[in-house]
């Protein structure tokens, strides 16, 4: 074999090995990168869902704050009508409204990013104002209890008695205490639901 033939043989042999190397490398890289792409897609989806849920939470909190400052008499009588709902979003200011029909309300769709959020509100009365003429048991009652220690040997204070301390006096309130329930739907299976209570602080 001449020198040129030896070089040719060595050169072609080297080329063949490089191709095999590249193919093996591509297969191994594909095996590593394909799950990575899947994981990135999944992570992006999770991050998007988290962002949407966070925005829904903030939106719900904003609506609760609006309801806590709304006119109480109109709120409990279902005559609130339309309540302005101005929300600052990353895409700009949103100017909408909560439209009340009796004790329930809904808003126009709030579009933030690619998700659309819809807010609904339900106002219910948990404690009804006491009526001096026709008394009922659904009123808010504050109590004054006897925490005094009974006479006798000393016992640890407060006493380890599972029963509530004895009633001394009660005060039945003449205002409603209402429950404000805010639901934010944002396209996922589970919506955000926030619930709090409001008393009459108008006087």
């Amino acid at each position: 074999m001449s020198k040129t033939d030896r070089e040719m043989t060595a050169g072609s042999c080297r080329h063949g090995v490089t191709l095999v190397e590249i193919l093996i490398a591509l297969v191994i890289m594909a095996l590593a990168i394909l799950p990575a792409i899947g994981a990135f897609t999944s992570s992006y989806g999770t991050a998007t869902r988290q962002l949407e849920e966070e925005i829904a939470l903030k939106l719900g909190e904003s609506v609760v704050s609006v309801l806590l400052t709304a006119n109480y008499d109109q709120l409990i009588s279902g005559t609130l009508g339309t309540l302005p709902l101005n929300i600052q979003t990353p895409d700009g200011d949103f100017s909408g409204a909560l439209n009340f029909t009796g004790m329930t309300a809904s808003s126009s769709a709030v579009v933030i990013g690619r998700a659309s959020y819809s807010v609904s509100v339900a106002v219910s009365t948990l404690f009804r104002a006491q009526n001096i003429e026709i008394q009922h048991d659904d009123a808010l009652v504050f109590s004054f209890r006897n925490f005094e220690l009974p006479p006798g040997p000393p016992v640890p204070f407060p006493p380890p008695d599972p029963l509530p301390p004895g009633l001394v006096a009660t005060y039945s309130c003449f205002d409603n205490l209402v429950c404000l329930k805010v639901r934010v739907d944002y396209g996922h299976r589970e919506a955000i639901e926030l619930e709090t209570f409001r008393a009459d602080m108008s006087q």
Partner: protein
């Protein structure tokens, strides 16, 4: 020549394997991070629900002060007497306990207990029927004080209410300062 070629091929595959290991490492970190964030997100929802329970406790406390101010001023006067060195701290603690009793959701027969029951039943009703979550709300008022601040020619009074709430064990505390006008 063959030795050199074999050596080169081994190095190439080793480099690829190193890259793959790095990618898989990053992948693991990403998966762990995503899982961690998923947990943090559900905690945020629980914290917000706990805060809503705290707001309920604060509303109840302010309302009680609004309808029964003289009962509270008795406690406030006792606190002033203790500061002046003339009051009895046992009597003060007892009266304060009586005042705060209605705001603790663990106390049976109180307005707070009824609110707790309503919140829990409502949360159960709102869940998906196939997986009913176990929910537990607790809340209460820790401190209820009247804070006065002397300014030029007048005194500014505030109600300071420190309340806590928890949803499924996630606890949040809130302190609210409300300006009140006290009739002299």
């Amino acid at each position: 020549m063959m030795n050199r070629l074999m050596q080169r091929r081994g190095v190439a595959i080793a480099i690829v394997l190193v890259f793959c290991t790095a990618i898989l490492g990053l992948l693991t970190v990403l998966m762990m991070n995503t899982r961690h964030r998923r947990g943090a997100q559900s905690m945020q929802y629980e914290q917000t629900r706990a805060l809503m329970a705290v707001r309920s406790a604060i509303q109840l406390a302010i309302y009680k002060y609004r309808v029964l101010p003289s009962e509270y001023y008795r406690i406030h006067q006792m606190a002033l007497d203790i500061n002046a060195g003339t009051g009895s701290s046992d009597e003060f603690n007892l009266t304060r306990m009586i005042w705060l009793y209605d705001f603790q959701s663990k106390n049976r027969g109180t307005p707070a207990a009824k609110i707790k029951a309503h919140l829990e039943s409502s949360a159960l009703a709102g869940g998906a029927p196939d997986k009913v979550p176990a929910v537990s709300f607790e809340f209460g008022v820790e401190e209820f004080d009247l804070v006065s601040r002397s300014l030029h020619g007048y005194t500014q009074d505030f109600l300071r209410i420190r309340a806590w709430g928890s949803f499924n064990g996630t606890r949040k505390t809130m302190e609210e300062l409300i300006e009140v006008k006290i009739t002299e």
